[in-house]
């Protein structure tokens, strides 16, 4: 089953002059598939990630998530899907430095309205899986770069999403930490989670099942593997 089905998606920002960020993108991502999206700055990678993550809406085209056309979703439905079916891994600055590691993860469970009694075991389990259980009470700002990315992964996957979206997850990491993060993504993929990663990092590109290159808002023909 396809988790993501994008057909002729276009996104134009109504600036003056208008910016055409996506010019008819087609993309399908199956459950358990690892996809890397490559492209230079301004090629539309982030816009595509925002569309896939329901943070932005396409100007035209169709985006089916888990088999459902997202065009009919209102704001509440998008919020609900983001909290439960989607997981985001951003750059390390999106770890909340004034909250503890556990509180950072907890925020996703609160957003998903997971009952309070279930939260602590879920947080403990996911922190154990990413190797941060001993840092649960540490403030986010005190973590190393690798720890921050592992925390970001933990926060993204604690609700067992169906689609994991990552924006340059290994760009600032050394080889060891990059490998750890990719191992965590592998774990998710083996569990059936579709993983889509935007990257410039060759390590991540070579890790993916397939790579897609965006050039000027279009997927470059022949590059998709």
């Amino acid at each position: 089953m396809s988790v993501v089905e994008v057909r002729d998606v276009r996104r134009t920002y109504p600036t003056s002059p208008p910016v055409h960020a996506l010019l008819g993108v087609d993309l399908t991502v199956a459950a358990g598939e690892r996809t890397a999206i490559l492209g230079q700055s301004g090629s539309g990678k982030s816009t595509l990630l925002n569309v896939l993550g329901l943070l932005d809406e396409p100007t035209s085209g169709t985006y089916r998530l888990l088999g459902e056309d997202t065009a009919g979703y209102d704001g509440a439905a998008r919020d609900r899907l983001r909290s439960r079916a989607l997981g985001f891994v951003f750059q390390e600055s999106h770890v909340l430095g004034h909250r503890t590691v556990a509180e950072n993860v907890l925020l996703k469970l609160v957003a998903a309205a997971v009952p309070r009694s279930e939260r602590a075991p879920l947080v403990a389990d996911v922190l154990h899986r990413v190797g941060l259980d001993h840092r649960a009470d540490a403030l986010g700002r005190l973590l190393s770069g690798g720890e921050k990315q592992r925390l970001a992964v933990a926060r993204a996957v604690v609700t067992q999403p169906r689609l994991l979206l990552a924006d340059e997850p290994t760009g600032n990491l050394d080889d060891g930490n990059a490998a750890t993060v990719l191992d965590l993504f592998d774990e998710q993929a083996r569990a059936g989670v579709a993983v889509v990663v935007i990257t410039h990092d060759p390590r991540t590109a070579s890790w993916a099942d397939r790579t897609v290159r965006l050039v000027d808002g279009r997927i470059e023909p022949g590059v998709e593997a």
Partner: protein, 420 residues
């Protein structure tokens, strides 16, 4: 987990969330709470001080005015219209408005401490007052700069009721029918009478009759500074009427209103409608007016402070929204709705305001007590007023957070995440 039924975020989650935020920025939270506390405290304490001041003014007015009742004659036409006749009772002096023993009758009333008669002769008749026989001066002619001398008929009871200081307590002479006079200090100065305790042999002439001056009278509520005081009986005799007379009644403190309701009947049981007691209600109105004005002043002052605080907190929170744009974007990406994001800022403002309000109540209570103590007042602290502090603070915090919360809700998550 996608199949789990969606529940609205609980209030407890929201409070927990906000407490984490406040804990992470304690200085900012403290400053905002202090701002709310000071403004709430200022409002509550200014109202509280106003209440204490009002209470004191109330007491002072009560002490100074609510124990004095003035009884005067009602014009015949009015009295007839209200059912009264024109019959004179036994023992009525002159035209028969006041009985000769009006003072005694008034003093027989419970709660009355003293009473006496007064007639302003000046204005009723063309009375002349001279220092020596044969002079032709009239009131108003004496001295320079418009000095005036009035002739007033009083009895001894009046001087006592008005709490006028009479030298050597010679006031009883006024009730004997003798031609004696007391002078107010200004009148004595105008007439050239030396201000001594016993001016033996000094006389003034009132309409050609010599009156022995018994001394200078001072103080009290009678307004006798520029008066020549003669016996009340002689004043009535000279005026030929007593319908311009007044009966001054001194009661125990606070009993003025009660006495005013019965005094006319006590003095003229046969025709109480011929007499009217002074409008004590008017004094009550004055007291209420003073209290109302003080309350309004305090409320306005406090409200301006509160408005300033709302602006200060709103400004601080708008800055916070800008600074936390990345966090807002993250929350939206994690699945928080716009309303949930706005709720975080509203709850933050409300909670800070609540804490500030508690501080304000405490500050206000201490301020009112200290101010009252320093001013020698009785501290009047309405528990309900103090209890409004937290509610007031929470309201201020919420009001200040509305605009920042709306701004936070409008933050585009995609843009916020990219720009962070």
């Amino acid at each position: 987990m996608t199949g789990r039924p969606r529940r609205a975020g609980t209030l407890r989650d929201l409070v927990d969330d906000v407490l984490v935020e406040l804990r992470s920025r304690p200085a900012r939270a403290l400053l905002m709470a202090v701002a709310v506390g000071l403004s709430c405290g200022a409002l509550i304490s200014s109202v509280g001080i106003s209440v204490a001041a009002s209470s004191q003014i109330d007491a002072d007015l009560a002490a100074s005015t609510l124990d004095v009742v003035t009884v005067s004659a009602v014009p015949v036409a009015v009295a007839a219209a209200t059912g009264g006749g024109t019959s004179a009772g036994a023992g009525v002096v002159g035209a028969g408005i006041f009985p000769a023993d009006a003072g005694d009758r008034a003093r027989a009333v419970d709660l009355v401490e003293g009473a006496g008669m007064r007639l302003e002769l000046t204005g009723v008749t063309q009375t002349t007052v001279t220092r020596t026989q044969g002079e032709t001066y009239r009131p108003g002619d004496f001295g320079a700069a418009g000095a005036r001398v009035r002739v007033v008929g009083l009895d001894a009871g009046y001087l006592a009721a008005a709490r006028v200081d009479v030298p050597a307590d010679r006031s009883w002479h006024l009730d004997t029918g003798a031609r004696v006079a007391f002078l107010g200090p200004r009148a004595a100065e105008v007439l050239g009478v030396p201000d001594v305790s016993n001016p033996v042999g000094v006389q003034v002439w009132v309409d050609g009759d010599a009156y022995d001056v018994l001394g200078i009278v001072r103080g009290g509520v009678a307004g006798l500074d520029d008066a020549v005081v003669v016996p009340y009986g002689r004043a009535v005799e000279q005026a030929g009427r007593d319908d311009r007379s007044t009966l001054l009644v001194r009661t125990v403190p606070g009993a003025g209103a009660s006495v005013s309701h019965v005094i006319a009947t006590a003095v003229r049981p046969d025709a109480p409608e011929r007499l009217a007691a002074s409008p004590v209600v008017g004094v009550d109105t004055l007291r209420r007016g003073v209290t109302t004005q003080l309350d309004r002043l305090a409320a306005w002052t406090g409200s301006v402070l509160l408005a300033l605080t709302v602006l200060l907190i709103a400004n601080s929170m708008v800055v916070a929204v800008t600074a936390r744009a990345g966090e807002i974007g993250l929350r939206r990406a994690l699945g928080f709705s716009r309303a949930a994001v706005a709720a975080v800022f509203l709850a933050e403002g409300g909670l800070v305001g609540l804490l500030g309000g508690l501080v304000g109540s405490a500050v206000a209570s201490a301020t009112v007590v200290a101010t009252a103590a320093a001013s020698g007042w009785s501290a009047v602290l309405d528990p309900w007023l103090v209890a409004t502090g937290p509610a007031l603070g929470a309201t201020v915090g919420l009001a200040a957070s509305v605009y920042p919360a709306l701004r936070a809700a409008r933050v585009s998550p995609a843009l916020a995440l990219r720009s962070d």
